[in-house]
Amino acid sequence: MQTNTEINTASKRFEMPNVKKPKWWIYHILVGGFAVLMLYPVIWLLMSSFKPSDTIFVTAQSLIPDPFILSNFAQGWEGIGGNSFGVFIKNTVVLVIITMIGQVISSAVIAFGFARLSFFGKSFWFALMMVTLMLPYEVVMIPQYIIFSKLGWLDSIKPIAVPAYFGHPFFIFLLVQFIRTIPRELDEAATIDGCGTFKIFYKIILPLIRPALATVSIFSFYWTWDNLLGPVLYLNSPDKYTVSMALNMFLSNETVSNWGAMFAMSIVTLIPVFVIFFLFQRHVVEGISTSGLKG
């Protein structure tokens, strides 16, 4: 029988089994070095945001801004057409939070249905769900647009936010796979203890798929954050625009694009995503102890 502390240790620390533990500094040099290499483009983006727009590409090879300026950030923050960038960020945050909550909750509920319950026609609906993933958005876009137009939802976030509460196939599939890794004995034990189906979902399965839920949250967050086509189609008024559209407005195909401001704002809008990721990834990583419940 395992004690609590043993369980905690067991789940929190998974180390590469049986590999001669390398010296930490070698590890850090290799991994860290690789990370820096991988991040070179991002670093380039960051450094370029401190350069005046017209020197960015001329001095593309050198990472050091000379002169080093902060005006790109000020300029970018002023935004476009009387809307400061703060407006766009606010719009995006609202949209993202609403969408994220919808997607996580609904996908979890639906995934439980597919993964744990058996019912007539299950395979059909599952297959149908997978099929909706495989159809390129561009072709359903027009009929969907007409539907939303008839509903009067144009120029609002409703076409993007409302469907989020009806599940997203990608997340449903992901959660299904995770739920299937949980032994059914746990469900059975709970049923014996008198738990109804919903309680099983809520008290047993949900906590055990915490890493997957955190993963889904992260994806949902930054996919919605970066989503461009949805806002382009359904947000007509510029004061409702999201960050992705606003960034595009710094560009111009007739005159000079304001690269400096665009890069600066790209960096700024990267920060919330970065922070959310950093906060949530802890939950992805903190393990689950399936054995703990057996007791």
């Binding site: 727009s53 017209d54 960015i56 590409f57 001329v58 476009i80 057409g81 009387g82 609202v94 939070i97 609403i98 909550i101 876009m141 027009i142 647009y145 007409i146 137009s149 008839k150 009067g152 939802w153 144009l154 120029d155 609002s156 976030i157 409703k158 936010a161 461009l228 086509l229 382009v232 189609l233 007509n236 008024s237 510029p238 409702k240 559209m245 595009n248 407005m249 710094f250 560009l251 111009s252 195909n253 007739e254 005159t255 000079v256 694009s257 304001n258 690269w259």
Partner: protein, 434 residues
């Protein structure tokens, strides 16, 4: 448990936030459909355009101006970048949700016009839209057949924009007004010998069309069902010239061009090329980035005036599904005739057509803008009739031509073969318009 409580509260809060903003937005989105019957007769118009920051700013100011002078009218502005704009417009059209006033570009003009999406402005000309200061030629730029689908916002003309200093450096004193293609080839060779590019190549459809026009032909036939020239030798002559320049190193290769990120990278700006073939409204932009004096010169001949035409840079069109066409027309009239409005505009959308406006603007223009104005004025006297908007299917034809041009410039295809292929495929595309 506490965690769930927290989440629940968040959900409730967010929902109420959304409901508030969602509610107000959907009501403002109802602009055109039911505002006509209001008690105060307030008219709501939606207007959409593409552009970048300066254009958004001054256009919004012009709208404000108009609203002040017309208190019963509210205009909702919807603006975006070029790509986003067109992506959004198509679905709007299919759902009959086009904004009342739409900025139109020649490349999409035929598609929208000939499919009934744009209103015929002819009834408004001379009434809501005062056209006394415009030439017929200018206005006809927006005509397809005998219907006027868009009001011309300004004209552009193609030309050669170059750095005189670099020109002298390669040993050429100046460009003659009546220079020819042969002169051009000579100068290009000199540029190459001096280690510079002559230019960055020519956009295939635009300049090939110019070339054809100088020979009395055109790229598309009048009715848009076939190509406008029968002799493939013209194709061969023109593209042999352009691909030879690439081969000889007087013009850059396609992959060099593909890597240019924007104006700052342009060889002219970096003093690696003598000049650039482009439209007149692109002059100010490149001059600003290059930060040194540049000049505009007319296209080479022979028959320059047959080849040149005044291209409408863009139009204001009125949506066929608009419920306020008259009001929309009034706005267009304000936009193109009001002096104060145009002083904000300063020719950003092309050289305005109204003679009155042109006179009023000249004094407030920068020297570079004056250069552009002058070159277009010269072109007005030295050009022939515009062929009209590209026919439906032109998009595919242009893509085809660009692709063939790319292959010729890579040396992967001979102009003779490209000529045949172009004819065959372009005609099959255009024949669908029969």
């Amino acid at each position: 448990m506490k965690k769930w409580l927290f989440w629940m509260l968040t959900v409730v809060m967010i929902f109420s936030l959304a409901a508030c903003s969602g509610g107000s937005s959907s009501s403002s989105g109802e602009s055109t459909s039911d505002s006509g019957g209001g008690s105060k007769e307030e008219v709501k118009l939606r207007i959409a355009w593409w552009g970048s920051e300066p254009r958004h700013d001054y256009t919004l100011k012009i709208i404000e101006m108009y609203e002040k002078e017309n208190p019963g009218v509210k205009i909702q502005a919807e603006y975006a970048s070029w790509d986003d704009y067109w992506k959004r417009l198509a679905p709007q059209a299919s759902a009959q949700q086009l904004p009342d006033i739409i900025q139109m570009d020649l490349s999409y003009f035929s598609q929208y016009a000939e499919n009934g999406q744009l209103a015929d402005l002819t009834p408004f000309v001379g009434n809501q839209i005062d056209t006394t200061n415009f030439t017929d030629n200018y206005i006809n730029g927006g005509k397809i057949g005998d219907k006027l689908y868009g009001f011309n916002l300004g004209v552009n003309v193609v030309g050669f924009h170059y750095d005189e200093a670099l020109l002298k450096k390669i040993g050429v004193d100046s460009l003659a007004e009546d220079w020819t293609w042969d002169d051009y080839k000579e100068i290009a060779a000199k540029a190459k010998d001096a280690g510079l590019f002559m230019d960055t190549g020519m956009k295939a459809d635009v300049f090939f069309n110019y070339y054809l026009r100088t020979q009395g032909k055109s790229l598309y036939s009048k009715d848009g069902t076939t190509l406008g020239y029968e002799d493939d030798q013209m194709f061969i002559d023109f593209f042999t010239m352009t691909s030879d320049l690439v081969k000889d190193g007087a013009a850059p290769t396609p992959d060099y061009l593909a890597q240019l990120k924007g104006l700052e990278d342009d060889p002219v700006v970096k003093e690696k090329a003598v000049g650039i073939w482009q439209w007149s409204n692109q002059f100010v932009g490149i001059q600003q980035v290059a930060n040194r004096p540049l000049k505009i010169h007319n296209m080479p001949g022979p028959n320059t005036s047959d080849g040149l035409y005044l291209k409408p840079s863009m139009f204001w069109s009125v949506a066929e599904n608009s419920k306020h066409k008259e009001e929309a027309a009034k706005f267009i009239d304000f936009f193109v005739n009001n002096v104060e409005a145009n002083k904000l505009n300063l020719g950003d959308r092309g050289i305005p057509g109204s003679s009155v406006i042109k006179d009023e603007l000249k004094p407030v223009l920068t020297p570079e803008q004056v250069q552009v104005f002058d070159s277009v004025e010269w072109a007005e006297q030295n050009s022939s009739e515009f062929d009209g908007p590209d026919p439906i299917g032109a998009g595919q034809v242009i893509e085809l031509l660009d692709s063939l041009s790319e292959q010729m410039n890579y040396g992967q295809m001979k102009p003779e073969d490209a000529a045949k292929q172009f004819r065959q495929q372009a005609e099959s595309i255009l024949s669908q318009n029969k």
